[in-house]
Amino acid sequence: MSTPRALSVLGLAVLLAACGNEGGSDTQARGPDPKLPEPQRGLLPSMKIAEPAPWGDRTPRVPQGYTITAIATDLRIPRQMLVLPNGDILVAEGRGGNAPKLKPKDVIAGYIKAQGNTQVKGGNRLTLLRDADGDGKYELKTVFAENLNAPYGLAFANGRIYVANQDALVSFPYQDGQTQASSAPDKLVDLPAAINHHWTKALTVSPDGRYLYVGIGSNSNVGERGMDVEVDRAVIWQIDAQSGAHKTYATGVRNPTALAMQPGSGQLWAVANERDEIGPDLVPDYLTSIREGGFYGWPYSYWGQNVDTRAQPQDPAKVAAAIKPDYSLGSHVAALGLSFSTAAVGGQFSDGVFIGEHGSWNRDKPVGYRVVFVPFQQGRPMGEPIDFATGFYGDDGKTRGRPVGVAVDQRGGVIIADDLANTVWRVTRTP
């Protein structure tokens, strides 16, 4: 009988399946010049979503000399935040995207990824938090505006609050101290919204308030929905705040999830999430200054001229022109928040950027799930990132929170949105 042969066939299948287990290094290549391994992919993509658990009595860990407190809970998927001139905090809440499932894989992967997310329905609103007496407790929590469409990026300029919905850039007139929008928002311009595989629309504004910058993510991992749906995707738009006219400011940025203006220089910076499924230590998510007219590689190549053969037909001219990003944050960390620090934060955290890392799914050893600080010198990122808030992914293998947006307020508090615990955290110096 051929039973042994049949068993060996089954054994082969199990063996092949086991090849999907790519481990990945414990310490990833981070910084300005990361060493990149060769691409690799087992039969099955690594998928590891840590099991969600409530915080209970725990809180995230912060450096010595700092204290962390939850200043708002029971939100409905908080993402990005905006600190208004009077110290009030606006929180954008929602969940977007309507990408159809194209392959059997999308059905299965979608189910697995959903296990690591909150079950709460997105708020599609802006919530305002206020600490009127300055005691660090935000006693007022009220809805500033609702019925928005997956709001994400926020900016304040020209006496208006700008909100990047997943399909349009809108704005509300704002007067100091206002706790509720006085009217429905005015639409400045429609944003690319078909499919919205990467739906988040990051937003920032030039120091003079003349231009708004919107990050528009790609409609696929690496072009697997075809390049027809990638028109006006993986780009950063520059939009005239008066007329709403736009031009493409930079291209090839796979998923620019947060934008920020560097104080002083007025230089635009971005964090971007890079492509998945070519190994645990590829491709690094990055922090970079954005050059006008620059092309950053997607989908043809990554980190400069490393060709991604999955994107066919290739474009050698584009590959040659691809700009190497400034600073690697590590692969799969899912950087979603970016905010420049101020001297008021103090200590070694005065000059640099805070970055919220939502955490990995395409890696056996989870990475991210923390807020890091990247120190700057002479206006450029320098040295290793420093952990600022950790413990979102616990030593017990449970996930209690997932950081998204970060913001720095006038008093030197660092504010962190957590879209798993539906909480906003604030880190301050211990008095």
Binding site: V9, L10, L12, L43, K103, S220, N221, G226, E277, R310
Partner: protein, 142 residues
Amino acid sequence: MTVAAHHYHPVRPGPLHALLLAGSVSLFIGGLLSDIAYYQTLQIQWANFAAWLIAGALLLSGLALLFALGNLFGARFRGRRPAAYFLLLLLAWVLGLVNAFEHAKDAWAVMPSGLILSVVVTVLSLVAAWIGLSNLRSEVVR
């Protein structure tokens, strides 16, 4: 003169078994043709078609495999052919599953391994179904 008397008990597949088997072969062939189209045109939709066709083929051939297993044990004496049919179909199914995982890769990462596997799996399933539908019987020696 003595004649070795062979008495055949045909264990032909029932209609449902036959439908599942034949259906899976068509779907594997469809998957292969879609792979060829993607390989030649780089039009991504063909890769999506191939992935679904192969998934459907696995569903049908997986159910046919259960019938084949039943026949294997149901035959009064286990002859060579039901075993050959079952094992070929099993091999086609296992390699088909590997092929489905290959087709879960993004864009051109499917190629060329997905195309090669599609050829192998289609041929295997065709041969398995041929044997299964024509000669499936157990030999009983009196």
